[in-house]
């Protein structure tokens, strides 16, 4: 039984390729010091705006910094943002959504009111407002994105929990004298796993996109840190003469986000075989 499940997992192309992409990014993040050719902020002013070559795999930027090394170090920022934001958002959102959907009444009203307020502003606008106050920087970006994005978990979990709680097996659990906590965690939550996985596989890339977007706008990670969004915004001025500056971080972002999306897709196919 377990053996066939493992076989099935390894046969799932999305999962395997997604997992490999994701692991490659994690390996880059952990071993960046060994993989990168130069420190991410080392300038070689003689070699500025060089085409990709054997010395500089992905070329150099306007200060002669090695783009390849900057991209490699940038994975650390990506992983940090993705993991922390996802953990905070899923933690807050699932808990509130379950409580709200299961109990209904005043509890639901209160939770949904709070949710509505955070939901009332698109996350990037809210993040912009928070960052205007806190000031730019990676930690502030993580705080801003995490605080404004959990509403979708709460809303979707709440809506699903509301329909599930009327299903016969939940009634049966109640008749059997299960506690509310048990019903929520053991009866309702397992039925929400697919929703949660879909949401998590949305959150990680969304967090990465938002953080690099804010970096791109100059409000996130500050130069010379090798944030991919920052590198992209530096590259936009050289699109005609040195397009590789923008191309490298752009494709790196797609590669990483694609990896996590495929991982999520594969997990969904494995967990939800129809």
């Amino acid at each position: 039984m377990a053996g066939s499940k493992i076989k099935e997992i390894f046969k799932n192309i999305s999962f395997v390729s997604g997992f490999m992409i994701f692991m490659s990014v994690i390996v880059c993040a952990i071993f960046a010091d060994y993989i990168a050719l130069y420190p991410y902020d080392e300038m070689h002013l003689i070699d500025k705006l060089q085409k990709p070559s054997l010395t500089y795999f992905l070329g150099t930027d306007m200060y002669g910094r090695c783009i390849f090394s900057r991209i490699i170090y940038g994975t650390r920022i990506i992983i940090k943002v993705g993991l922390i934001v996802t953990l905070i958002q899923a933690g807050i959102g699932v808990t509130l959504g379950l409580l709200s959907g299961y109990y209904g009444g005043v509890i639901r009203k209160t939770i949904m009111f709070i949710t509505d307020i955070t939901w009332s502003l698109p996350s990037i606008i809210m993040a912009l407002a928070i960052i205007t106050v806190l000031g730019p920087g990676l930690t502030n970006v993580i705080i801003a994105i995490a605080l404004v994005g959990w509403a979708q978990y709460a809303k979707i979990i709440d809506a699903k929990a509301q329909t599930i709680k009327y299903l016969p097996f939940v009634e049966a659990g109640r008749v059997l004298g299960e506690t509310d906590f048990n019903i929520m965690v053991r009866y309702i939550l397992p039925n929400l796993i697919n929703q949660i996985i879909i949401l998590v596989s949305l959150t990680f890339p969304t967090a990465v996109i938002s953080a690099s977007g804010l970096g791109f706008l100059g409000l996130g990670t500050q130069p010379p840190a090798p944030d991919w969004g920052v590198i992209l915004s530096e590259g936009i001025r050289f699109l005609k003469n040195a397009p590789w500056i923008a191309i490298a971080p752009g494709f790196s972002l797609v590669y990483t986000i694609l990896g996590f999306n495929m991982l999520g897709e594969g997990l969904k196919e494995i967990l939800e075989p129809e």
Binding site: Q162, Y166, I209, F216
Partner: protein, 311 residues
Amino acid sequence: MLEYIKKRLLLGVFVLFVVSILLFAIMHSLPGDPIQLLAGDRTSPEKILEIRIRFGLDKPVYIQYMKWLTNALKMDFGLSIVTNQPVSKLVMSRLKFTLMLSGISVLLQYILAVPIALIAAFKKNSIFDKVTLYITIVFWSTPQFWFAILLILLFAIKFPIFPISGYSGASSLVLPIATITLTRLASRIRITRSEIIDTLKEKYVITAYAKGLNDKKVLIKHVLKNALIPTTVMFFLSIPWIIGGSVIVEKIFAWPGMGYLLWTSITKQDYPVVQGIIMIIALLTVISNTTGDIIVAYLNPRIRHDIEGKK
């Protein structure tokens, strides 16, 4: 039902009220003094005090808030500190450009997403479904700003077909709208598809088949109607998000819209303008949330009965 609509509207107003307080508090805890910035270093303290009085910044915060709120209700968000123009006039002149982008884009998304999702879901695991899935994953994984840069590289630098900066007629719309539509379409298709697949598994669909209805009738009468509930909600909810997300797209294409104005206002600490824009986006979001909720409640019998049973 009417009771529910009334309650939902009231909630919307209350949410806006709380947002306005939060926003006002946030904007007033900002570091940096816009008046000092405006006046420069060489202005005398008397002159600065005079400007403060002119903008009402010498009064206690709660009085400033009350004044701001009563004016905001009349769509008067004060004067821009930088250009001295009324905020509402500034924003309104920009709003139509932003609505143009988001409106056309949402419409295109809806027109494209529903049929594609319907075919993909109904012919699940077919080649069409698989291809759609892989294409949507790639598009979904592409950040808007990177997609925009790719389009610029391809259609403005390699083949100079479309303008990339500002608004100069219909051809200026192509690249920004393509960016927004194509990057957002993927998630629309995927969510709609999984919603339709869920609906296909419902008991009433099986019953409809058992009654001897053919595919077409089941699809239109039962599946589409029920699967369109979440799609419609999604549709309504997404407009303010596109407007919010337009900050990046508008900045890249130097689009004369609200997002670009918000960006320049943040960098210039022009907080009456920032406040005004965020309040307008909040208003749009509350309107679409409320409409979405009411439609869901009306169309989904399970939730409708829940509401009407409790009254």
